[in-house]
Subunit: 138 residues, 6 copies
């Protein structure tokens, strides 16, 4: 009898960013993104919640080893994003606006490559406790 | 390539209410709703979590402008409910028992009228950190 | 060797109230208290944090039995305030404006009578996660 | 017009456990479960979130009486698990490794027997704020 | 009979910063501040907790009008710091390293000028949920 | 001009324990400690908050290097207590009842030895979000 359980692991990183669309004028960017367009950047404590759904192994009682999942998150996300300027230091955002929607997508893509396809993957990203996003690959 | 992302925005309001079914006797109401039936009302810090699911705009990197979503929530919910008595001050509950289940439905209806139909809408309402409800229109 | 340790116990109650000074006119009350003056009341999930400081008993390792402290809080505060209208249902506020500052004082007085004078007592009361008060008897 | 609303109720219990697979050697268990395999046990403040989905009763405005749901949780989970050693004191784990995935499954089974089949049931269990699991019966 | 009560009001701002001492070499700065020295900045969701201690007014039941206190915080701190780069956009940090210790001091000085001297003032600043600081003017 | 700032650093550990006084009979222990006396142990996610008060260094802007403080906490507390049975695995509690009051005292003593005496030290320990203790060495 196979049971599917979702397991969640959290992590966090602190980063600077600004929202800006290069093909728009400064006025357009300022009008659309407001304070988030500040040329000198602002920043957040991003809180990450990674959800992996799969069958529970009947011997170990695990869906996936959380220590292994933590290593994937550390290597793919924390080392790349923590204490960085997303616009300047992270190549993924060289030409992609680092909105929460785009950041969660980039994180999902990075983790998807490391997590076996037998597992479903969903990622939630808190930009602040009041604004957050979720992507499940669809 | 279209990606669908869920974006969440939180808000809060403080309100008084009582649970009471007019067609029941006082004894029936007291027996069923217990302390929540107190004739002089009690109250809560309601915490609201609005979820909007839609395609990410490839230029702006937004699903929906959070500032616009915040305006909808402020105009439809906070102005109508904050520092109010739900039973006496909010016409939606003139003949509808303001249970958390009914409040979340009323909020969903109010927001649905303001949010474009290309977006899915779901609303979660915390009456306390221990009791909460969610409605997605189905 | 006597060590003094502070022990904290939390509790919560949900209540309605309004802020109003009877000797002021309606206009004065509305101007000063704003939305909090709503004649039909509003409400909160009040979170209470009771701090008791005393010497650690060398045999039991306790400052005070938390189960006893919980009983004091339940009997003095929760039974009197939970699911009540503070203005109408609680005699302490018959002629005392139920501001957070006054509620925390009333709670402190009620608990002080039950807790042995060898212990210092301080009470913190969260009206919302953004507004809170503290009173230590001085 | 039937509306389906999800209602959530939280609870908590404090328990000791260790992760161990009897058919494995001590070395295998230590290598796989790490610190969680400690022979003398460790423990957690488990936080439980029970989700029940059903139609809102048009008269009462309730999906299910939360006081009844709380009684089910208290009787089935809290009395059985709180301040217990899951491996030694809880028969469900006599031959089942008390991983979070297995605990959430056992809780779901216990609650499913008490909650009418017209309702969907899902259970989330926080082992720590950083590690949690969810099971919905599928 | 005068009672002194502490009232607390919270606020938040999102900002970028880097830790750097101009009179040190790059190597010294990197060695001492580690990732926090990143030349392109990183950022935080700063959470602020302002504590004001004073006598409760016997008529109004207030220590200080929270709406007035909120205005002081908005004008002195949020407008100056929110969605800013502390090093580049905030003159206070032109030659002062924006460590949490220095930020909380600057905030305290700004608020002290606005709050009547009959009140004691203390400020707590969360840089992350895991790192925070407090300053009371001494 | 010397300013004294308090800096706080949090940490957490998961441990099993039981409350028991060897010189008391089983009946006395059960009557006094209730469920916490369970012979097979129960457990908690302990959350630790370490407060260090000292002068801000005018060059670095630090009271104490948080990375150094984190190392002290990891070496003295986390390595000794995390995923352990406090009664069986931690020599400090071989003959000392591991009540929260005694645990916070033991942690304070361990950290006091590592932190320079120019700094004041205070430790808060959450056994659960509802029960916590604080010790400052007096």
């Amino acid at each position: 009898m196979t049971r599917k359980v979702a397991v969640f692991r959290t992590a966090h990183f602190n980063a600077a960013h600004r929202l800006n669309v290069p093909q728009w004028t400064d006025e357009q960017n300022k009008a659309y993104f407001g304070l988030c367009n500040n040329a000198n950047y602002h920043g957040h404590n991003y809180e990450l919640e990674v959800k992996v759904v799969g069958a529970v192994d009947e011997v170990s009682g695990y869906v996936i080893d959380m220590k292994v999942l933590k290593t994937f998150i550390d290597e793919e996300v924390i080392e790349a994003f923590d204490h960085k300027n997303l616009n300047l230091d992270v190549p993924d955002f060289a030409s992609l606006n680092p909105s929460a929607e785009n950041i969660v997508w980039v994180i999902w893509e990075k983790l998807r490559k490391r997590i076996d396809n037998q597992f479903e993957l969903s990622v939630r990203l808190y930009e602040t406790p009041r604004n957050f996003v979720e992507f499940n690959g669809k």
